[in-house]
């Protein structure tokens, strides 16, 4: 088996349908709400982390077997160490300020939050600025020697060459983390109601 290789109008329609489903799920699970991200960073609402960990717990083994039997193909980006580190620092800071990643900004705008369009315009404005700063970024970040080739490690040891222990260990760890986060969210959520009862 191999992936459907749709072209032309069929591919456009499929992309529209898949996007529609993504938009529906993002809104229904609350990820398009900026408060979900904001509350995640103070551990008031762990929904984002739980969604992420559960998707990894389920997705890793499914992805492995689908890849193994040729049903899907992985197209990983060529990430490098220093760009990832610096990029994460920028993204983390921006996320605290606006509470959106690109896809959730679009989803949020779709649900009537006009301010998300402003955030999205800010995101689009980054492209010309980064293009202008590209020579500096290449000199100081992208072309810097990586201390470890993490892409190579992951490709060789975790997925592709039969060392499948991580296929079970990582999903189980993610599942435990998700359950733990749910537990601490519930226990922290129980306190205010208890206080209310006491005051009555």
């Amino acid at each position: 088996m191999h992936p459907l290789e749709l072209t032309g109008t069929y591919k456009l329609l499929a992309a529209l349908l898949v996007g529609f489903l993504f938009g529906f799920v993002l809104l229904q699970c609350g990820l398009s709400n900026r408060k979900t991200f904001m509350d995640q960073f103070s551990f008031k609402d762990n929904s984002f982390a739980i969604i992420f960990f559960i998707s990894v717990a389920i997705g890793v083994p499914v992805c492995y077997f689908l890849t193994k039997y040729g049903i899907i193909k992985l197209h990983p980006t060529d990430y490098k160490f220093w760009p990832i580190v610096i990029g994460a620092l920028f993204t983390g800071l921006g996320l605290v300020l606006c509470g959106h990643i690109p896809i959730t900004a679009i989803s949020s705008f779709g649900s009537g939050k006009i301010y998300s369009l402003w955030i999205f315009i800010g995101m689009l404005a980054a492209f010309p600025v980064i293009n202008l700063a590209r020579p500096i970024i290449n000199d100081y970040i992208t072309n810097k020697t990586d201390p470890v080739d993490l892409n190579l490690i992951s490709q060789n040891s975790l997925f592709f060459q039969g060392h499948t222990a991580m296929l079970y260990i990582i999903p189980i760890v993610c599942l435990v983390l998700a359950l733990f986060l749910r537990l601490i969210q519930r226990s922290s959520g129980a306190k205010p109601s208890k206080k209310k009862e006491d005051s009555k």
Partner: protein, 164 residues
């Protein structure tokens, strides 16, 4: 099921499973990861092209983003979550002097920094999420650094607000 789709919210556990399967379905149908950074880059290029008088063509990557917009819009209407909001609620509570000036700058700057980070890192958050399912350790490194930084800065800001 109908009640869940029309009124209730999906639990994070169900949402996690749905997201994983959506990534797989996307990889199978489109033979690629949707929502990659090229989609946003293309939008910027085409907006600039449109300004210069060029007629842009639309690729499946941009159509995917249109689908996300439509999906959210329909979902918001069906579940009665649709509400026109010009400013975030937490900004509104600080008064017009804040949400008409500082709030706007913060939102714009936040979006700008998020995308700068993603461009430098190499791809969009959705693509990294998809790559995480292929066990690419380096994506985990990105998420850990981003999360720790956000928790530290978020806590510092909330402490500062509480002090005020």
């Amino acid at each position: 099921m109908n009640k869940l789709l029309t009124t209730g919210k999906i639990s994070p556990f169900v949402a996690g499973v749905l997201m994983a399967f959506l990534f797989m379905i996307t990889a199978y149908i489109l033979d690629d990861c949707a929502g990659a950074i090229t989609a946003y880059s293309n939008i910027t290029d085409k907006v600039i092209g449109l300004y210069n008088g060029n007629t842009p063509s639309i690729s499946w990557e941009e159509i995917f983003l249109v689908g996300v917009l439509l999906g959210s819009f329909v979902c918001a209407l069906v579940t009665k979550q649709f509400k026109l909001q010009l400013f975030p609620e937490d900004h509104l509570s600080k008064g017009p002097a804040y949400y008409l000036t500082t709030g706007l700058i913060i939102n714009f700057l936040g979006g700008f920094l998020v995308m700068c980070g993603l461009i430098i890192a190499g791809d969009s958050f959705l693509k990294m999420w998809n790559d995480a399912l292929g066990l690419f350790i380096i994506v985990g490194l990105f998420l850990i650094i981003m999360f720790i930084e956000s928790v530290v800065i978020g806590t510092m800001l909330s402490v500062k607000i509480e002090e005020k």
